[in-house]
Amino acid sequence: MASTYLTKSKSFIIHTLKSKLHYTTRTSHFTNSLFHHRLLHTLSPLPPVPKHANYYSIGKDYVARRSHATTSASSQINQLPVESPSSQILDFPGGKVKFTKNMIFTSNSTEERVNCYRVLDDNGQPFTDDIDLLKINKELALKMYTNMVTLEVMDTVFYESQRQGRISFYATTTGEEAINIASAAALDNNDFVFPQYREPGALLWRGFTLQEFANQLFGNKHEYGKGRQMPVHYGSRKHNYITVASTVATQIPHAVGAAYSLKMEKQDSCVITYFGDGGTSTGDFHAALNFAAVLEVPVIFFCRNNGWAISTPVNEQFRSDGVVVRGKAYGVPSIRIDGNDALAIYNAVCEARKLAINEQTPVLIEALTYRAGHHTTSDDSTRYRSVDEIERWKGDQNPVKRLKKWIESKGWWDNVAESEYRSNIRKQVAQAIQVAEQIEKPPVADMFNDVYDVPPRNLNEQEAFVRKTVKKHREDYPADVPL
């Protein structure tokens, strides 16, 4: 596990800290020369002390400490740390800052918002003349498209099965199929995925079968979660997809920690984590981005800005220009992309991955999209938004339709293939549901293991007690619960 003793950032941090105590930075080198070697003749006469309270309160500390290092302290106390008199600069920890005589408050709103990267327009035609950007071959395009259709159909059928009472809960990805599939397509299978809960597409892309999805939804004994969690809380170690947790945005700092581990191991992979616009309000989002920038780790922060956090629209969630501008605040390279354009997503994530791994930096991607479905089956979004709005996004802005138009224009797909594929998948999903429904539930033995690596005595006692009770009063327990 080879690694460098001091990473660039850490050496900078130690450097900076030392400078506060021992003056071994460039600044003090300069000031040393100023005070000790009397190089004043190389500078024009110094300007008078500015009366700006802000600067002075910061500078005073600096100047006061520096004066201890010199013999002629008194005459130097009021001197300013400047390179040249015409552009007064403060050499502050973190970098040089230019002064200005204009008192300007930055505005609370931006007249011009950050631009949004897209490749295909609303009609699925290239938005750019640069053909090179469309570097997707037929095989990849069809794989992406068919996966998006599978996701769409899967969502519809599973949602209906909840309505029929066959499963207890479901959350669709309607409107976000491009994000789900195209982002996964741009990654390597070794890249770790830390999802929120609206990204089963990454699993689907990596080979999770419809049956495996259905098993989790029914909580039967074949599902990898052993029936421990609600539906849509998928997780699969072998697909490098961390188990979904209900807690919002906790996966964001987790992703940074995992990326730190990758960095220490010097692996040629990165971590991606997904979250919605709502998740960016949490403390975890803030801490994670801040840390990721400081620790310089290879993580892609993918924000699905879909306009709604249950019933909270984005203008009640934050007043910044979306999420992309926050990256700048933390020192994280960021981009805003069209979240309904599969090709734009693919390109952006490819590039983000390269950046993250080659330069060991976090990257923030804000994908603008729309949550065309309800938040979950427990929600009826028509209660807080207009049906017209929902229909409009389901229609024109539908990411599946848009990619379909493009691949049709390339001659790679047609309506016959479409209807055939859709009916095929619908049958498969229905079949998977039927099979999953019949499979036994997990046994009682699975209730007490995995709490710890090795079950402690009290849990073994409890399990024995439960078995005894169930055996003794079989009639009180459902027949399909195996022991």
Partner: protein, 377 residues
């Protein structure tokens, strides 16, 4: 100083096999931590016990790393991580921005991926900022993922009251964390406890909450040669009988063990022979040892610094009533901190926490020896 020599050699062996040649290592003996008495007994402060343990475990396993506020450059808010930054570098001793939720979450994430973090909370009072990650992200993950994600993380730091630090720095979190399935909660008392339990915690594949005590950091305890060995480890979930007795059982953990032992000496003069149990582990709680002791003595006093309601003593009482009801000759007494946010003034603070006299009086009451019930809160 056989333990020291063995530690260095063992560390070096561990290094080469893990390919740590790239780390700039300057092995320093733990000589400063030891004071040789003429009789050959070695003493060690709890602080040095913890420091030497971290040092040895980091040398033995390159996946172990330390993270927290002030752990690196500042050498640790309480100097527990002193010297580690110089020895292991900033990649393995990570100073963090001020966000417990942030670094706890990041630690958990790195544990998901295979590292073994030791997260320091400056005090466990600050862990409340991160408690969602400790419980929902660490404790429950192995279960919720059905064994696909295990979290070999240790959360450590001072717990409970110190001296004159006020209400927001004095709470005991033993009961809070002790109720969560998926966590292990350890409470060392002596230096031997500190070494053995911290090693066990770091090597354990499950998340461990390691509750230390600020006032014990500076206290010296004798340590056996066995405890100084770098492979020394204490079992998790086993209490220690610090003092054997036959008239009454007193259970305690952390600093209160010392108080209970002093109370036992005082009681001895009054003809009451007390058995003192050092819990060492709140979760799993060593119900077997406690019950065996009560079945021998027939009387029980539980001692803790935390708030009385839903405290550790409450759980012990329930356990003894469930398992050994017929053996009790008297009702159980719980000694706990006063049911108030800790006051700052020294006289009030003293009254807010159990003192040796409180334990003595409680023991006598349980033995039906004359003293009327003191005015309780």
């Amino acid at each position: 100083m056989l333990g020291i020599v063995r530690q260095n050699v063992g560390g070096a062996r561990g290094l080469s096999s893990q390919g740590l040649g790239n780390y700039v290592m300057r092995l320093r003996p733990v000589a400063s931590a030891m004071r040789n008495y003429s009789a050959g007994t070695k003493e060690m402060t709890v602080r040095d016990a913890l420091n030497s343990t971290l040092d040895e475990e980091m040398a033995a396993d390159p996946n172990v790393y330390v993270m927290g506020e002030e752990v690196g450059e500042y050498q640790g808010a309480y100097k527990i991580t002193k010297g580690l930054l110089d020895k292991y570098g900033p990649e393995r001793v990570v100073d963090t921005p001020i966000t417990e939720a942030g670094f706890a979450g990041i630690g958990v994430g790195s544990a998901y991926h295979g590292l073994r973090p030791v997260i320091e909370f400056m005090t466990f009072n600050f862990s409340m900022q991160a408690i969602d990650h400790v419980i929902n992200s660490a404790a429950k993950s192995n279960y919720m993922s059905a064994g696909q994600i295990n979290v070999p993380i240790v959360f450590r730091g001072p717990n409970g009251p110190a001296a004159g630090v006020g209400a927001q720095h004095s709470q005991c979190y033993g009961a809070w964390y002790g109720s969560v399935p998926g966590l292990k909660v350890l409470v060392p008392y002596s230096s031997e406890d500190a070494r053995g339990l911290l090693k066990a915690a770091i090597r354990d594949p499950d998340p461990v909450v390691f509750l230390e005590n600020e006032l014990l950091y500076g206290e010296s305890f004798p340590v056996s040669a066995e405890a100084l060995d770098s492979s020394f480890c204490l079992p998790i979930g086993k209490a220690k009988i610090e003092r054997e007795g036959k008239d009454i059982t007193i259970t305690a953990f952390s600093k209160m063990v010392g108080y209970a032992l002093k109370a036992a000496e005082i009681l001895e003069k009054d003809g009451i022979n007390a058995e003192v149990i050092n819990l060492r582990s709140i979760r799993p709680l060593d119900r077997a040892t406690i019950n065996a002791s009560v079945r021998k003595t027939n009387r029980l006093v539980t001692v803790e610094e935390g708030f009385p309601q839903h405290g550790i003593g409450a759980e012990i009482c329930a356990s003894v009533v469930e398992d050994s009801f017929g053996y009790l000759d008297a009702p159980i007494e719980r000694i706990a901190g006063a049911d108030v946010p800790t006051p700052y003034a020294a006289n009030l603070e003293r009254m807010a926490f159990p003192q040796i006299e409180d334990i003595v009086r409680a023991a006598k009451r349980v033995c039906y020896r004359s003293v009327p019930l003191a005015a309780t809160a």
